[in-house]
Assembly symmetry: C2
Homo-oligomer: 337 residues x 2
């Protein structure tokens, strides 16, 4: 394997011009059957593989989409990715997944690389939706759609779920169950989703006329199982009369960690503490005590985002739109006794 063979090599071996080889590749109907067979045989003999870089260079665009996600280990995002993947496959495009791992430096590196690659479009769940880096990407000619976030101006297409409403649903549910002292567990508050869910929680709390200091905010460093466990220690370490009777976690991973922490401490859910999660990932319903959670249409999110990015890429009359889906509360044992 010295050097990959090119159309030129194939042309030489088949005794045709390289234009003909290209025709076999791209418009086989314009080539006579015999010639075509000969060229195809030559390709097989030489193990010819199209050089996508050259093809792209000529075509000016690639046949790939990319989804830059916040955390590949969070099932929520992989579910969204699944939706993107299906839609991309249907459109005949490949999808590359890039994991920014919540680090904006890595996000930027990926975005830069993708723009240089001239991918057909980028879907991104950004660390910071307001970041000017996103505007740069589009200025450089690559369509971008924001997933699971909304930018405050309407210069981007975005597909999101109403997180404020989600937070509201969770807390209203807890209030209905009679809780009057509730913990909100989540963080860091640089994450927009966390802020919005808390905001919704606070509004629902105020609307119910409950005193603000009885909605305790417990801040975590990340939205992970491990953080959920440590938050659990903090919550249950509160003095008896300050301790909440229910917790609303900013995502299911936190909720699962919290649940775990409680059961190792011999506390019962929802007896000692009721728990509401967020995202309704598969593990939520599969937990020891099935979790009440706020469900988002994950695959649908991915599918819709893909449609938007393709429209932005292909349709000269494209107008940006912000799609907002409605979340839904799924009540399970962790709040229902």
């Amino acid at each position: 394997m010295v050097r990959a063979s090119s159309v030129k090599d194939v042309a030489a071996r088949a005794g045709v011009s390289l234009g003909t080889v290209s025709n076999v590749l791209n418009r086989p109907d314009r080539v006579s059957p015999e010639t075509r067979a000969r060229v195809e045989q030559a390709m097989r003999d030489l193990g010819f593989v199209r050089n996508e870089s050259a093809r792209q260079l000529r075509a000016g665009r690639s046949r790939t989409l990319a989804y830059v996600l916040l955390d590949a280990r969070n099932p929520f995002f992989t579910d969204v990715a699944e939706g993107v993947e299906r839609a991309a496959e249907a459109a005949g495009l490949s999808l590359f997944l890039c994991n920014s791992d919540n680090r904006s430096s890595r996000e930027q590196d990926y975005l830069a690389h993708l723009v240089e690659q001239r991918v057909q479009g980028i879907l991104v769940t950004p660390v910071d939706a307001q970041s000017p880096a996103l505007a740069d990407v589009r200025r450089n000619g690559t369509p971008v759609v924001i997933v699971d976030r909304t930018r405050s101006d309407d210069t981007f297409c975005s597909v999101a779920v109403d997180d404020e409403l989600g937070g509201r649903l969770a807390v209203e549910h807890l209030i209905e169950q009679g809780h009057t002292r509730v913990a909100f567990i989540g963080g860091p508050d640089t994450i927009g989703q966390v802020r919005d869910r808390l905001e919704g929680a606070r509004k629902a709390w105020a609307d119910a006329g409950l005193p603000p200091e009885q909605l305790v905010v417990v801040t975590t460093e990340a939205l992970t199982v491990v953080e959920g466990r440590s938050a659990g220690e903090r919550v249950m370490g509160l003095g008896r009369n300050r301790r909440p009777t229910a917790a609303f976690c900013a995502n299911d991973l936190l909720a699962l960690g919290l649940l775990q922490q409680l059961s190792t401490s011999g506390l019962s859910v929802p007896g000692d503490l009721a728990i509401v999660g967020y995202d309704d990932i598969e593990y939520a319903s599969a937990a020891a005590v099935p979790l009440t959670s706020v469900r988002q249409p994950r695959q649908e999110l991915g599918r819709r985002a893909t449609e938007l990015v393709l429209d932005e890429a292909d349709n000269p009359e494209h107008v940006h739109q912000q799609v907002v889906f409605t979340p839904e509360l799924v009540a399970r044992r962790s709040t229902l006794g």
Copy 2:
């Protein structure tokens, strides 16, 4: 945004030749500071972005690595991916993740696309490690390393964990705990990992002199939480004296599903059924009853695979090697009562 600007445009605006622009990009030290400043200003003015296709075309290779994984929703693979990502980042390469979703057709599509892209190397956890498609990829000049599988011949580098030993460890542990009737839960047996783990289990069973029919094999359709739940129903539906006292699941997702099924049926773990999982994913220790599991060095797997693929790409004297890591049993409450 009519057309992305090229080095030529930058050169014109800065009043230099395009060779100089390229030098600014690639060997800035060879350009005088004033010229460099002028060129850099021109780049900013025009919003110049390097065209990676053209660069690759010239260079013959890209600055990307790809990992084609079996199931992006399985935390085991995303952990491996994390290891790959770190190593790739250290080497100054970008990593694209491709999810084959256990479908060989999709795996093939991705592989073909990646070869056409001339990526620098491909890591793959294949649906079928013996598939000739993998040999095709390398024949076409792209280094390939097999992750978490081993090919029977030694024509590929691979990084894997000794699954047979893992199966053995799991079952030996159960035997030590006094179990003499055990279920192996896993499938489909087209998955090599499942076959090997079962094989190890059988050998340990035979070595202990236990009758083969007391190691019951329960076949699942996939390695998912949902399948674990349905396997649970089947296992517990067995007649009293055929029912096992312990189960060894081919991965943690199955084990979590099984655990869930048992606790909704009001059965206790390990009282009614002891459970051993496999992979030791984060959720295993975070489960309601912390799971005993067989741990694999996931990130290390990814890191090592990356080193191998880079060696294959850069080192003309590269020799293929099969790295096999040793798994480790982590005993927790699900088997320790």
